[in-house]
Each structure stands twice: as C-alpha cells, then as structure tokens.
Amino acid sequence: MLNYIIRRVLYGLLILIGVNLLTFILFFAVNTPDDMARINIGGKRVSADAIAKWKTQRGYDKPLLFNEQAQGVEKLSKTLFVERSLPLFALQFGASDTGRDIGYELRQRALPSLALALPTFLLGVFVVVVVSLIMVFFRNTYVEFWSVAFAVFLLSVSGLFYIIAGQFLFSTVLKLVPASGFAGGLDMVVFLLLPVAIGIVSRMGGEALFYRTMFLEEIGKDYVRTARSKGLSESVVLFRHVLGNALLPILTSTVAVLPLLFMGALIMESFFGIPGLGSFTIDAINGQDFAVVRAMVFLGSALYILGLVLTDISYTLADPRVRLA
C-alpha cells in the first residue's frame, strides 16, 4: 500500500515536471519576454529601453536555459528556467508582473474561494443525489419523463444565464441578497447564498442525468432483485440497498474534485465580486499577468494530481476488492 502510494506520488511529480516544462515553453520560448514586455507596456511602438527596463525590474532579463556570461554553476542557475520555473516546486511563487507577492495573495484568497466552492460542491452533491433518486423512484412514469426533459433543458442553458438571471431576479428585483461583494466572518453567508444556489442549479441538469444512469445501472443488479423478492418495499430497496451501494462510487469520485475546490470558481467569483482565487486568475488573464497565470497553472495541476492520488487511496479504503500492488 505504502509502496503504491509512493509510486503514485512519484508519478505525480513526473507529471508536474511535464506541466512545468510545457508552461515554460508556452510562456517563454514561444513568446519571448520581449513580447510580454511589449504587451504589458502597451502601445505599438515601445522603445527598446522601456522593454529592457521592464525586463530588469521583473527579473526577465536573463537567458532562457543557458547563461554564457556567468561563471561555473551559475551558467545554469542564472537563467529564467531555474529562477522562474523551478521555485514553483517549493511553492515559491515569487512576485507577479505587477509586483505583488503571489504567495501572499494565494493565502489571502484561498479562504473566500473555499467558502464559496465547498458548500456549492457538498450541497450540490446532496441535492443532485436526492433529485436523481426521485427520478429513479418514479421511473417509467410521466414524472420521470418530465424531470428528465427538464434536466436536459437545464443542461442546455449556459451557466452565465443562470448567474445573470439569478442576480437580476434576487438582487435587483426582489432585493433579497446583495448583488455582489464579500465580508469576513458570519456576514459572508448573505453574500454566498445566491452564488451557492446558482452554482447548484447550473450543475444540476447534467449531474442529475449522470447519477440517474448510475442508479439505474445499480438497480438492474442481482442483489436488488433478491431484496425485492424478499418482499421489501420499493422505497426500502431504493433508499437502503441501492443508495448504500451507489454511494461508494459517488464518494470516491468526489474525492478527486475536492482538492480542485481550492482553485475557486472562475466565473462565479468574478460575477459576485468574491475576492477568491478564481477572480484572481481572471484578473491575471485579463491583465495579461503571465507570472500569476503560470503560478495558477502549476497550482491547479498539483491539486489535480493530489486528487488523483487521493482517489486511488480512497478506492482501496472503500472497496477491499481493489488491491494495489
């Protein structure tokens, strides 16, 4: 077991190195720091002096992989790759192109992000499971037909519509909750109600359909037939036997997503003005802050890999039949 986990973690590291190389190529080789400087300073005609100054200020004035002017080990270490890419592995994110400390920003913004993403995710799974169970309970009736049709409709609506319409209805017309903003402490509940609700609704269509097929698959199995032939009522069969057995794959699949919740919800946060990592990322993309985008790419893939490893572990814990060698 321990052996397996170590192997998985090592493989994860290997993937992170790949991610790092890919982002390095994308951000530095395809696009030279000169281009970055030109975009950031703006304007068509930018003097060479201004570019050089911008690069020196932000430490982009070194060669990519090999520094000929340096001595000894510094030939390799005084390069952009070593200075800007490798420290990411030690979670040293450095300064953004606008001069702010990325690590500090991440620590500040992780909490609001989680405050939004965690309730959305957990409540969402709960609601979706309940809805899909109801669909399965009323299977082969018009209740199921119309709920599936409604779910397909929900699935076909862009998430942006839910946000805009929800903000309009609940904030502008009904004035129940503030349209956007954030506060610390318990006050945040008021600000989070609407985004959490919208987050759940916008995911509901697709996921309810997905869980429905999962439950239907489960319901065709032998143990369900046995339970029914014992004379158990359909609701007991469904809520005790089927749900109990289907919960396992649901829980293990949620484990994969949990670490990614740190990344925050891009669109939600920026629409509702929540100062989390999602809005940080969007601001960076809009402001073409390459340092921040690079840091977020790295963080995102690290969390994704963490999710993969956790999924493997949770499988072995949840299902003794899965043996990892």
């Binding site: 991610v19 994308l26 281009d35 018009y142 609506v157 942006l160 805009i164 990614l260 891009l266």
Partner: protein, 487 residues
Amino acid sequence: MPKFVLLATDLALYFQMLVLVLYVRHALRTPLLRQSWRYVQRDGAAMSAAVVLVVFLLIALLDSVHFRPRLPPAPDAAPAAEIAYSTRTLSVLDVLLTGPREAREKTYSVPLATHQFSKESMQREGVTVRDFPRLQYGGRHLEQPQEQWGGDVLRRSVNGLGSGLLVVVLGAALLLLRQSQRSGQAFMPSALDLWQGRSALPWRAIGVTLTVLLLLVAWVAALWPYYHIMGTDQTGNDVLFVCLKSVRTAVVIGSLATIATIPLALLFGILAGYFKGWVDDGIQYAYTVLSSIPSVLLISAFVLMIQVFIDKNPQWFETGLERADIRLFLLATILGLTGWAQLARLLRAETLKLGELEYVQAARAFGVSHAGIMRRHLLPNVTHIIVIVAVLDFSGLVLYEAVLSYVGVGVDPNTQSFGTMINSARNEMSRDPVIWWTLSTAFAFMVALVLSMTLFASAVREAFDPRARAYRVRPAGASTLPSQEAA
C-alpha cells in the same frame, strides 16, 4: 463579379461539409451503419432536433460565403481602369438581410419600438425639449405611431402568420397527396398512417417542427422590414440580425473544435491501445499532463500566445475581419488540441479490448503489418465512439465559448457571438429600466441550438451504444420506439 474572400473558417466549414457528405455516402453503403442511423431516424425528438439543426447549419453556411462587392466605377474613370472592390467583406447572409443590416439606429430600442429607448434633447417648435426621439428605421412608415402602432403590428402579424399557415397547409396537402398516390392508398388513410407513425420517419414530429419554424419565419418576414423585431443593441444594431450572425460563430466553434480533436485522439488512442508497453506509457503521460492543467488556464495561455502572434504579424491580415477570423480559427483549433485527451482515453480502452479479439490475432498471424491492422481492422471498429463523442461535445463547446468570451480569451471582440452578447448583457441587466431583449434573444437562440444538439446527440448515442438504450425514459402508456432488435 465580386471578389470572393476565403476565410480560414470558411475553408474549415467547407471541408467539414465534404467530410459529412463522404461520411453519409459511406454510411449509406455500410449495412451496419445504415441500421444504426435508422435508429436515430425513428426517434421523433431527434428528427425534430435535426430539422432545427439543419436550419442553423444553413444559416452558418450562408454566412460562410464571403466576398467583397465591386464598387461602381468612379464617374471620371477610364473604361479600362482597374476594378475597385469595397473594403468591407460581406457574406451571402449579409446580402440577404441587407435591410435589417443597414437599418442602424443610434442606440437601444425596445423590440418592435417606434421610439428610442433613451431621451434626447430636441428642437420642437423652437423650444428645446427632452423626449424619446423617433427611430430612423423602426416603425418609420407610421405617421401617428401612438394610435397606429398596435393595429399595424397586429395586422402585419396576422398577415405574416396567415400566409405562413397557408404555405404550411398547401405544402402539407401537396406532399400528402403525392404520398397517397405513391402508396396507392386513399388520401385520408395514408395521411393518418403518417400522423400515427406508421412510416419510416416520424413525420408528425418533423411536420410539427417544420410548421412552427415556417410560421416563425413568416412572422419575422412580415415584420422585419418595418420594425426591429427584437429591438436594437447599444450601438443600434438589430439584435435579431446579430443573433443570426452569431450562429456561424457557434457552429464553427462547436464543429471545428470537435473535428480538430479527432486526428490526435485517433492517432494516440489507437497507438497506445495497440502497441501497449512504453508507447502506451508515453501517451498516457502526455494526456495526463494535458488534462491536469485546468482547461480555462491552458486555453487562455494558448490564446494569449496567439494574440501576441497576431499582434506581431499584422501584415498577414488584410482586413479586420480576416484578423478576427484567424483568431476564431485558432481558438477552435486550440480547443481541439487541448481537448483530445478525453477521446484518446476512450479510443485507447476500446482498442485494448479489440486487440485481444480473434480477428485481430488472426490478422497478426497472417502477417498483416501493424499499420494495416490499425487501419483496416481497428479504425473502422472505433469510429462509432468518435461519432458519439463528436455530437456530444458540440453542445458543450458552444456553451464553453460564452464562458471563454467572458474570461476574455474567447473570440475577437468584433466577432459577433453569443458569448459577446451575454457579456454586454451583464451591464444591461443592471440598468433601470432593464434592457432585457439582448439577453433573452441570445438565450432563445442558444437554447434552441444546444437543446437540439443535445437531443440529437442522445439519440445518436443510443443508436451506436446499445447499453445507453437501457436508460431511455419510457413513461407508461407512451408510445415506445420500435426497438432495433424487433425490427
């Protein structure tokens, strides 16, 4: 002759049409494929969806034939002078809709309005007053808008719907008459057969969809020359026209991005599943790396790169339209290049399964080369997965475009798309009085497109993956599809 302009996405769309035609020809000749598609044909919802999709596709195709119109020769020009072309690139759709395209107001106006949405200072009988000015085009023919407006709109609507209904009834009667002649039955029984579904195609569903569409088109055709049916946007453009132009962007993104995933996914998926060993390890590594990067970030990284590239090479693009178009093309390609992992994973699993089967073993024993086995024995047997994934992905990509445009890495701001429309709607919805029509029109178009694609896709999936049929909803008492096994 106008000067035809071939944009990158035009070429891509033509190419896709060619692929589609070739696939249809191939499917018609292959009994198994024909049978699978016949399953889709029997599904009423899927065929209604297909009708709507064909209409969207036609709009997109009409909007994909671009040209620069010839300018009238200057009055004092020599007869042999070089022909001058307009700097504006138009499409066939633009020409067909010249009226609404050129009917530009100053700013917002409510659907079917005769007056502008916001007040302006005007001179009236020598006094400066603030009032809602008349629109330049919308309701221009009315002399007394306050009294005439309601009656005029009602009369034109009734006219439009009436003539639409007439066309529907006449068309249906003609078709039914031909059908009854061909089948040798009397008129009523043969019509009843079609209505009750005793035919190869679900004619009732198709007929109802066509009727609704025709009535809608007739109504629009009756009112559009006189009013802005869905109002105008901030710069005074007709919202309905902008929506029709956005259809092409959505179709290009949805189809081109899907097509772009296929070559890579097919190559890597089959290679990994066939050779296993280190080839498999390497390819799995590559797609785990790609899928571990959050997709919005990966796409924005790529898009920032192409933005730099386009900014650095302005000399390559003659007009603004070409520049915007190359961005759309590259965006779709990037969506494809970053999205192949999912499909490759499925193809790899299927190839692993197929590789163990006897016929592949036999081929290997007979000494068929690796390439030969992959091309002749594996490729044809995994295409159904490609078809399923291609139709399933389409709607997701159309929705994704809106999100990307919001993040700022979507289409060029000058390209009309649903994403840019929703973006602007964000501010409009917080105005008072609220500007609801841009958002609702974009909403209606997008839902129509995505919903029909979703319905079509689920039928395709059921046709090619029999296991998916177990999850079909069969309400008690409702007519069930004749299953393929029984047929």
